[in-house]
């Protein structure tokens, strides 16, 4: 994080995060022979929680707290470092669920869920996507019906960021009178979770089927200010933090490309002395500043409850989603053949960016969301 951007506390937070993530060596872990999605080291996640990573969006009265006074801006700093290191911890999901429970939960729900998320001893995830990549709330079809002692839910959630350590799912559904969310246990005999290997080797995804599943009335998470408003807020948060992770990765890819392109010579000159490549690097650098600007601007707008905040969050996700694939693929082009080999890190960044571009809304969906929010 540059001088002039963010607070001193946030720069310290970022440096601590970077040191922690360097020690965790996520890329080396991915390269171990025969490794599939490596899964979460429970001890390591507890240490991450001790650094405050899961408390930033939780109110102080619920045991949380931010570093700078704007917890979302703090979380952006952590997420950028996650993306840079290709760490696979459930940062987005745990924070989204913890924030939702802190904002909307009953005292019983808070007691049952928050302490574990805050100290890192438990993990939660958000099950909201349906139909293979539809994230906007109006596409939610999972059906909920009221019954005498609670609800019956029926439907399928796809592309759920799956962490086998997760004990809790936050599930969006459609009820006659709106869009409720439920807190459901991940490991229940009547909720089959089908893990899927994702293109991002570091992270598993799952399809979760609810077939006439009975949930008690206490599983309902009431939405303060309307359930849909709550879901929109979660979507903006998840999209924004995901975008920050992507940009953190792009910063690293850009650095790798500058280093390589100055080192590698062709026809007696560094390859990055050729104007055809210099101009592409300049364009990318300018776009990365704009991407960081959108992300920081969105976090600041949420901090002052500016009505433009949701527009900026979707703008950030759409802009970064479009940018990401071009930046990584162009970095591969500038690296030449080595860029498409298994041994080079670039494909790991491309895999992460390709998945994150879709996760919590692809550019097309976020553009549609922006269109609706700006009066189209």
């Amino acid at each position: 994080m540059m001088e002039g951007i963010g607070t001193d506390e946030q720069r310290l937070l970022g440096m601590t995060a970077r040191r922690f993530l360097e020690a965790a060596q996520p890329i080396e872990r991915l390269r171990r022979p025969g490794s599939s999605a490596p899964g979460l080291d429970p001890l390591e996640w507890r240490q991450a929680a001790e650094l405050g990573w899961t408390a930033l969006l939780v109110s102080e009265s619920d045991g949380g707290g931010s570093v700078s006074g704007n917890g979302l801006a703090d979380l952006i700093v952590i997420a950028e470092n996650h993306g840079r290191a290709l760490y696979s911890g459930p940062l987005v999901e745990v924070n989204v669920v913890a924030a939702a429970v802190s904002r909307q939960g009953t005292p019983e729900q808070k007691t049952a869920i928050l302490p574990g998320l805050l100290d890192g001893s438990s993990v939660a995830t958000w099950a909201t996507c349906e139909l293979h990549g539809h994230w906007l709330p109006d596409t939610i079809r999972l059906e909920a019906r009221r019954v005498a002692d609670g609800f019956v839910v029926d439907g399928t959630k796809s592309f759920v960021v799956d962490e086998p350590a997760a004990s809790c799912l936050l599930v969006t559904a459609r009820l006659e009178e709106g869009l409720p969310q439920f807190l459901a246990p991940r490991a229940a005999p009547d909720i089959p979770v089908c893990p899927e290997r994702s293109l991002d080797l570091a992270r598993g995804m799952a399809t979760v089927r609810f077939e006439e599943v009975h949930l008690p009335g206490t599983a309902l998470l009431e939405g303060a200010g309307g359930a849909e408003a709550a879901i929109q807020h979660q979507l903006s948060t998840a999209a924004l933090v995901t975008a920050a992770g992507i940009v953190g990765g792009l910063d690293r890819v850009f650095e790798l490309t500058v280093e390589y392109g100055l080192d590698r010579h062709a026809f007696g000159r560094p390859v990055l002395s050729y104007q055809a490549l210099k101009h592409r690097m300049a364009d990318t650098r300018a776009s990365l500043e704009a991407a960081h600007g959108l992300i920081d601007g969105a976090a600041e707008a949420f901090g002052r409850q500016d009505p433009e905040a949701h527009i900026l969050a979707s703008a950030a996700k759409a802009y970064v989603g479009d940018l990401a694939l071009d930046v990584v693929q162009d970095a591969i082009q500038i690296h030449g053949g080595v860029g498409v080999t298994w041994e080079h890190d670039l494909h790991l960044y491309l895999r992460r960016a390709t998945v994150d571009r879709v996760l919590y809304g692809d550019p097309r969906e976020h553009r549609e969301r922006v269109a609706a929010l700006i009066g189209m």
């Binding site: 100055l262 002395s273 300049a282 500043e289 601007g297 549609e368």
Partner: protein, 415 residues
């Protein structure tokens, strides 16, 4: 140093509302096809109104007639002023030329010229490009020959915005032909109303005449008009371009007078949204994607420029980073022009209709990618100065300028 504590942003805002706002008129009252000179006269009066009520030069030092306030006051000013007409024609004067005087002017020059800018008396312009060369600015061949306490100036400048209503210009001229090209240049102030200065508007492809070319025929100016040392004009000119790029990115002292593509203020409706509604195309999913893309691009420009501006002011990025907002502004403006053309369809292609301006603006849509330094020059600056990539090889660096090969039809003026 101050005798009274600095006015808080809230006090500043409420003073704006109570004392200045009643004297301003709505930005919507302005006809889009108004003559530039008429507009310039009106903007003089508005600038004077700002000055008289204590709102001119928010970031300028008080000793030269400014307010000496902060960037937060500047942002508050723009926020408060978003629905009013601002004296936008003063963007170059206050965003570029005033800051150059602050950087390089003598105390006497600053006291003489800056207050007159802030009062709305004088428009200033930059005289840099020449008919024979644009991007290669250091190849200037307009000459100034020292003659006692005077310079005698001969030559021509081109692509000067607003020269037809300016009272002063700053010209980059060659004072020594035996030195290498960057080291024989000098910056001097030019009185534009001198009879030995001829200003001729350049008609653009859409009929507009916002740029001019100027001819100097034995124009005599006192050496006291020199800005910075003799033969160090390149330093002054380079700094001038930094201020220009800062202005384009909204990071200059001009008070945000320079217009950027997109909505006029943070919560105002995007013109692309209005266009889609007027044409009844707001429900078309393809149009919705395009409008959102255009809006997102304008937000990316706004937030990216703000970020770079903050980083440069904090010293985290070098001044050359101002090329990033300049490049973003050109790329975003061009993309939004394409999108407007797509949404308008045939409505942009016939004369006289409510949307014909979209078609005519499209014809000159590359203006912002050329003016103030081309996109290619910005990319070179970002690549070489910010990223540290190697410079292109050039053939004119360490030889006397008189021996450098130039355009075939271009000869050296007799001296």
């Amino acid at each position: 140093m101050r005798e009274v504590p600095m006015e808080t942003v809230d006090e500043f805002r409420s003073r704006f509302r109570s004392t200045l706002a009643p004297h301003l008129s709505s930005r919507n009252d302005v006809a889009v096809d108004e003559d530039a000179i008429e507009r310039a006269h009106r903007h003089r009066r508005i600038q004077r109104t700002l000055f008289d009520h204590g709102f001119a030069g928010v970031l300028y030092p008080p000793e030269y007639g400014g307010l000496g306030l902060t960037w937060d006051h500047q942002r508050a000013f723009l926020d408060e002023a978003s629905s009013f007409e601002l004296p936008r024609s003063f963007n170059l004067t206050l965003g570029i030329l005033g800051p150059v005087l602050l950087d390089f002017g003598t105390e006497e020059q600053r006291r003489r010229w800056i207050p007159a800018m802030l009062r709305g008396d004088d428009y200033w312009v930059q005289l840099l490009s020449e008919p024979g060369g644009g991007s290669d600015m250091a190849g200037a061949t307009t000459s100034a020959r020292a003659d006692g306490e005077m310079y005698v100036v001969n030559g021509a400048k081109m692509w000067t915005s607003n020269a037809h209503f300016a009272s002063w210009g700053m010209a980059l001229v060659r004072t020594d032909w035996d030195r290498p090209k960057h080291r024989g240049l000098t910056m001097i102030a030019i009185p534009m109303d001198d009879p030995r200065v001829t200003v001729r508007p350049i008609r653009l492809a859409n009929g507009d005449a916002r740029f001019c070319e100027e001819f100097f025929d034995d124009l005599v100016v006192p050496v006291g008009y020199r800005i910075g040392p003799e033969n160090d004009g390149w330093t002054v000119a380079s700094r001038m371009l930094v201020h220009q790029r800062n202005m384009v990115g909204g990071n200059s002292l001009d008070g945000g007078l320079h217009e950027t593509p997109g909505p006029p203020s943070r919560h105002a409706t995007d013109p692309l949204v209005e266009l889609a509604h007027q044409l009844g195309r707001n429900g078309d999913p393809g149009v919705r994607q395009l409008v959102a893309e255009g809006h997102i691009a304008s937000l990316a420009l706004r937030e990216g420029a703000d970020r770079v501006g903050r980083a440069v002011r904090a010293g985290a990025l070098p001044a050359s980073a101002s090329s990033i907002p300049k490049l973003l502004r050109a790329v975003v403006g061009y993309r939004r022009a394409q999108i407007a053309l797509d949404i308008a369809g045939s409505a942009a292609l016939v004369e006289g209709g409510p949307h014909s301006r979209i078609g005519t603006e499209w014809i000159v849509a590359k203006t912002q990618s050329l003016a103030g330094g081309t996109n290619e020059m910005q990319r070179n600056i970002i690549a070489e100065r910010l990223l540290g990539l190697p410079r292109e090889h050039s053939l004119d660096l360490d030889v006397p300028f008189k021996d450098v090969r130039r355009n075939r039809n271009r000869s050296r003026p007799a001296d």
